[in-house]
């Protein structure tokens, strides 16, 4: 299997706090990997280091064999890394379809595939509606279509189901799962909803206090004592 992303001991601190501490892992083509951990474990920082929104203090990131450690976010995007944001970010002065068209333009592509992309993410109607008038679930769909527009090799999804009503969560995860499988996209996602994590990830990376504490199959991670401890606090003693 070919390596898509090769992360070598990346670290980043804020003031005296080590937000990400010597994190190392690789993603292979076709992986759907979930990055989990309690709040403050360093997931978001890790994501921002991979997308280039933050710069690493040490370590390196290789993408498709290129050292992208010091690349700007837009350079990484052009190289084939797409992403979505925890709170869906769209262009608020545009309609749904204009948002996707802008994403296609940014990639230097023709814009006539925009409506197909919206259909792919489950938005057949409402394409001419301003994004500010859409329900949040649809805004997230638009953002997903934008991230897919440039046909990325690697997709970073920051909490794809956050802010959605319970019944919508499963729908969007299924949709994402189908899309990335059909297109052979490698995915790294963070998620709080454990149903989404264990239902769709082929691999799970767990973080705590800036460090990677597990990198294994879902079953192995579920039974990992350290992972359980950081999620549940210290194990309960019988008489507690």
């Amino acid at each position: 299997m070919s390596t898509v992303l090769d992360v070598n001991g990346i670290s980043r601190s804020f003031g005296g706090l080590k937000a990400v501490d010597e994190v190392t892992f690789t993603l292979n083509k076709g992986d759907v990997a979930a990055l989990i951990g309690p709040n403050g474990a360093g997931k978001t920082t890790c994501f921002n280091l991979l997308s280039g929104a933050l710069t690493v203090h040490s370590g390196s990131v290789l993408f498709g064999g290129h050292d992208i450690t010091h690349w700007q976010p837009h350079q990484r995007a052009r190289a084939g890394i797409g992403r979505t944001f925890q709170i869906a970010a769209t262009f608020r002065s545009m309609t749904a379809i204009e948002n996707v068209e802008a994403a296609l333009m940014a990639a230097g592509l023709r814009t006539d595939t925009a409506s197909q992309l919206l259909q792919d993410v489950g938005m057949a109607g409402l394409t001419g509606t301003p994004v500010t008038a859409l329900a949040y679930g649809d805004v997230k769909r638009v953002e997903l279509a934008m991230a897919l527009a440039a046909d990325p090799v690697l997709l970073l999804l920051d909490e794809p189901t956050a802010g959605m009503a319970a019944d919508e969560r499963q729908k969007i995860m299924e949709r994402i799962s189908d899309l990335v499988r059909a297109r052979g996209i490698t995915v790294l996602f963070t998620e709080h909803d454990m149903d989404a994590v264990f239902g769709y990830a082929s691999r799970i990376l767990a973080m705590d206090q800036g460090r990677l504490i597990a990198d294994d199959s879902p079953d192995a991670v579920r039974n990992d004592a350290r992972v359980q401890r950081v999620y549940l606090g210290e194990p309960e003693t019988g008489d507690a």
Partner: protein, 233 residues
């Protein structure tokens, strides 16, 4: 003392919490447990007036405080310790404590810088240091101390154990237990159950923005399947 009635809130259009209700009597303590993203932080921020409630009422000491400005709510007697601590990094430890001071302190023994330092000798040693140089645990103690300086009747703590080493969490738990004895009501959101039970007797568990369980820690211990389902990995 605090009566939260069916509040709903979120960010922009994203729904974060829905139909959240709970009550808290004076000197009582309540823990909100739940996984990341369950809505714990939003609940506390909505009580504090930092995130607008879309629906519902919040009654504190008989007054409706829903959607009042956060400074009004703070002056009504609620102290807030945010998730990210949000200490003022360029200010010294002592100066940070002074920002929490409020005029017209009530009660027999109002909180002073000295009293906070008695509770947390760790930060007393660094009283003149810029807060930005503190470790995670020290920052948390400073954030708690800063909230206490306003002599609150109710203390809101948002995931105080986040990112802290176990030994520091224990230390914090002792301090919170001590505060409870002094009669301050505590509303704490936590993922760390051990710390939560040191700080509170009653518990609600949130899941995807709603309350999925309410009871006492004693009851919860008898039902490990609830813990596994709502909190487990």
């Amino acid at each position: 003392m605090l009566d939260v009635q069916s509040i709903q809130s979120g960010y922009g259009k994203a729904l974060a919490i829905d139909d959240v209700s709970f009550q808290l009597e004076a000197s009582e303590s309540l823990a909100i447990l739940g996984r990341n993203g369950a809505g714990k932080t939003t609940t506390l921020k909505t009580v504090m007036g930092m995130t607008p409630a879309w629906q519902g009422r919040i009654v504190f000491k008989g007054d409706d405080i829903v959607n009042l400005s956060s400074d009004t709510i703070a002056r009504a007697g609620i102290g807030y310790v945010p998730e990210e601590r949000r200490i003022f990094e360029s200010l010294s430890v002592t100066e940070n404590l002074l920002t929490g001071e409020k005029a017209g302190a009530s009660g027999a023994a109002p909180w002073t810088v000295e009293r906070v330092f008695e509770l947390f000798p760790e930060i007393a040693r660094r009283s003149m240091a810029p807060a930005g140089t503190l470790s995670g645990g020290e920052r948390q103690m400073l954030a708690v101390g800063r909230a206490l300086m306003g002599n609150p009747d109710l203390l809101l703590l948002d995931e105080p154990s986040e990112g802290l080493a176990p030994v520091v969490v224990n230390r914090l738990g002792d301090a919170l237990a001590e505060l409870r004895k002094s009669g301050i009501a505590i509303l704490i959101s936590e993922q760390n159950r051990r710390l939560a039970r040191l700080a509170a007797e009653n518990v609600v568990i949130m899941e995807t923005g709603r309350i999925a369980y309410r009871g006492t820690f004693t009851d919860l211990d008898k039902n490990p399947e609830i813990t596994a389902r709502l909190l487990g990995v």
